[in-house]
Symmetry: C2
Subunit: 638 residues, 2 copies
Amino acid sequence: MTERNIYLEDIPLDEARRRLEMALREAGKWEPLAGETLPLTEALGRITAEPLWAKVSSPHYHSAAMDGYAVQAKDTLNATETRPVRLKIGGRAHPVNTGAPLPPDTNAVIMIEDVQHPVPDEIEIRAAVAPWQHIRLMGEDMVATELVLPANHKIRPVDLGAAAGCGHHMIRVRRKPRVILIPTGSELIPVTQTPQPGQIIEYNSLVLCGQIAEVGGIGHVMDIIPDERDQIRAALQDAVKERPDLILILSGSSAGSRDFTAAVVRDLGSLLVHGVAVRPGHPVIIGIVDGIPVIGVPGYPVSAALTGEIFIQPLLAHWLGSGSDPRLRVDATITRKMTSPTGDDDFVRVMLAQVGDRLLASPLSRGAGVITSLVRADGLAHIPRFSEGVDIGQTIEVILYRPMELIQNTVLAMGSHDPMLDLLAQFLTTRYPTERLVSSNVGSLGGVVALRRKEAHLAGIHLLDTRTGEYNLSYVQQHLRDAPLQLVTFAHREQGFMVAPGNPQQIRTFDDLLRVRYVNRQKGAGTRILLDYELQKRGLLPEQIAGYDHEEYTHLAVAAAVASGMADCGLGVRSAALALELDFIPVGWERYDLVIPAEHLAHVQHLLDILRDPEFRRALGQQPGYDTRQTGEIQYKK
Amino acid sequence: MTERNIYLEDIPLDEARRRLEMALREAGKWEPLAGETLPLTEALGRITAEPLWAKVSSPHYHSAAMDGYAVQAKDTLNATETRPVRLKIGGRAHPVNTGAPLPPDTNAVIMIEDVQHPVPDEIEIRAAVAPWQHIRLMGEDMVATELVLPANHKIRPVDLGAAAGCGHHMIRVRRKPRVILIPTGSELIPVTQTPQPGQIIEYNSLVLCGQIAEVGGIGHVMDIIPDERDQIRAALQDAVKERPDLILILSGSSAGSRDFTAAVVRDLGSLLVHGVAVRPGHPVIIGIVDGIPVIGVPGYPVSAALTGEIFIQPLLAHWLGSGSDPRLRVDATITRKMTSPTGDDDFVRVMLAQVGDRLLASPLSRGAGVITSLVRADGLAHIPRFSEGVDIGQTIEVILYRPMELIQNTVLAMGSHDPMLDLLAQFLTTRYPTERLVSSNVGSLGGVVALRRKEAHLAGIHLLDTRTGEYNLSYVQQHLRDAPLQLVTFAHREQGFMVAPGNPQQIRTFDDLLRVRYVNRQKGAGTRILLDYELQKRGLLPEQIAGYDHEEYTHLAVAAAVASGMADCGLGVRSAALALELDFIPVGWERYDLVIPAEHLAHVQHLLDILRDPEFRRALGQQPGYDTRQTGEIQYKK
């Protein structure tokens, strides 16, 4: 281990990009890449390196546009119904098929349907024809020397046809930029291996290679290098020898004791940037080694992917001459206040849904390690530098990650988490490929609040009325008093204690929680209300439960805490315990309902159809801990 | 040659699609394709064939989220600035790096920056830490068994990361549908050959293969088959033996004497549809042979491409499970009345531009043979069945062919045609890749009218005032009286007679036009006004000029008419004559100006910059017949 590298700046995004551009200009590497010549059959999706001019006209001769006879228009001048004109076939009339060249000394085509054959070798014409009728003139489509495709144009299927039609079978396109990726990290293992504790699957190279391919580059991934300065240095030297257009060093870009990227780049070339004021993705490194740009990519998956989006893809697109950013932008209303450090460009993944007349953007987890936040994201919101964040209800610009059609056909469920909502989502997408169900886990009460704010199409709730022992109805009546709505049962579910296999702590009742480490759900979660109700019945206080403040947002997260030994026990549904191979001690059944405001009934109709479909009910009923006797039933309507 | 096949129906689009679906259902070929298992490294852009569930949690152990020391939070409970707590390294405190597993019996991480080292083997803590601080909990990102990717999902770079992160290195994706294409036509030659008169370059297979690849299929093109019934029949039989998912027979789908597709399909299987009520693309054939769907694709390029879009791509997308149509739709205002037969679904290619606060859609040529109309199109408007067309100013829905950003950065020039506008467009796109210049040739007066109707950003004009012999100014003052605008010179151009090489008809002056076949420009074109002016000066009448009514819309089209021998002479610019290797007899110089309303000056600023740029002026000045002495100068401003 060498000296610790604590130098980490906060260079604004624009300035970081500017430094890279300046250095590339100096190295003579800023211009778009040279061209290569390809057959048209291989050119789809490539970028033209120069304008394409028509080599021959299209059509390259005057041709018949119809099957029929080519004639001189003036020969037909006096033809009428009563005094038809007769022309000899092979003499003044020539049979032609569509596309055939026009015979000399003719200037019109009469459709085969419009002539009579009084005798076999003559045609009879009963109306005068105009000159140029049913003729495709030479050059009608393209005239030789005309511009057909501009430079820097992404080649589409019809472009191939146009290029071929005007005499080309080869086309000059930009060379694909080549990128070498060097993954570093002693804890990393390739995707083909099964990780042991302390080992991390190296997948940033997969994501970055995908991003590189997406814009038209070629990525080549080297073997994983451990966190040893000399080995990283040697790997970078090897990569430079290959003369790629760009080198990426993955991880090791921060300022920790095992982060050598900056030092190695400084050793071998010049370090232009170490640390950019963006969130996530701060510890980005930019340097130049022997004329080749080197980008140090942070190790956290979201930071890595974002670095790909904001540095690597734009650079490759620039080299390819495809300057235009094809990603669509929409304006959306933010559903949660987002604070943002004023000095940073902040990139926030959001879910999008059209609820009533508003397009809503709900921020996803901001953790830099949570790649699922990128998978689930419908778009990326950019909160620029020097703004202090955005307030609820404010409009922000979002770069779309998915087609708008899919977003408009999205049912957004907010509320309690149930693992079987995934099953419902899967049925919906299979039956209706352009629709989807997205759920956001904010707890049952959170879901009710979301409906009140018109931020969701439905809410999943299991809220025990501690006075009556009834589920859901009283909460809906209290919190959504004026809104016409339906309360539709999703399922009855079994709740219970999730404990380590064999139940080593012998947990049987709520009284046993006093002597173990518990893991709780967040405030407003139905499962937490159930716990509170049971504690209260027994005269127990939250303070008496170790871990009462250890909050998780989903049944599966609670199960994970138990499975890892972090806690001894948590309350949740049977399917979550089964998923992580935990034991399950039932404490009772509860009714999980969907609250659907009347105004969204049409929007969620296919979802309700599936809920009442025998095939779905059978699939759900086969899940341990679920009872579908009332699934799809309307419990309440107003 | 066998009996003529005159059976051509008018089946509505929906009904044609329904018949295909029914037949495929019967043949057991309607369900999405089966899956195949691929390494993640090859799965980008493919469609998931089944949901992907997390195999291991991510992280799969509790890990440090920071470099520092792992401790038990309760050991730090009483730490303050004045009474720090000391912990022995290796005893109650364990050094950890980011990503390392949490040592047993610890539940928090203190960042390295927040501890002191009073003695080498101890750390000193000056504030209590909360449990779980700086820890990534097991399953924070994904919990084993959780749904990570749904079925029928197009795999993006981040999805690869998520799949790898939860323990997969292989993924099940839909098999690519295989399509065999059989080009037919005795007049066709492959793209690698140079066409002779009567020969047509076969490029529909290129376009269709591109469309097939675009949605994720594989096209295989057979050799070109001549229009012989037996040979087409044999080719179809060969194709069926390969058991592809779909067979396309290109051309021969109409009802002419050489159109055998329908007959051959009827021979070998069943013919479901022959003729669909769509424009363009009417003679589409749909059939089934031995359980394999066969589509007969019309030969005209635009019809072929449209058949690809409305029949072939949706079918492949359905098989791939990617039901969603990712193409964006926008509403636009139509600039020209479009009549449409009520029985037909009519598809119109349009150019789009944002002029002021309106997004305008200008219909392009509707010719089925004009592939450049697809290349130039920014979008496709669908005029549904039973509507009688659309009126000027009406709003229509347009499927976007290009990113909206590019459309919004488009400068739309309407007016007189000058071949060198292509040069200007090329400079603009090279310098500003997200901008472009699009020109629509409607003649000088047409351009002035377009400005008055607010349908263009600028108009290129060369209008001779026949009273004063001056160019442009009087027309602008008369027709755009109230609008603040600038008149900026593009160039002086040489006009003259374009004649066959060697000038066989010895054309020298306008008087010579009396004895030759002339080709004219359309009404409102500056070149036509010049002709009229010269005829009038000489006391000649239009009726005395043979071909006065033969109208073309561009200089190049006029040149093409002369080059082909269709006419002896036309008036136009020198560059057009040169392009087609014609002789050019100069008649004088004229000033070609750009009229730019003040409201669009900012929008066209980059264009004006280029006009005044020495490099562009040099390039333009080198073109024969152009003089740049006033290029970029403002002739008039108000």
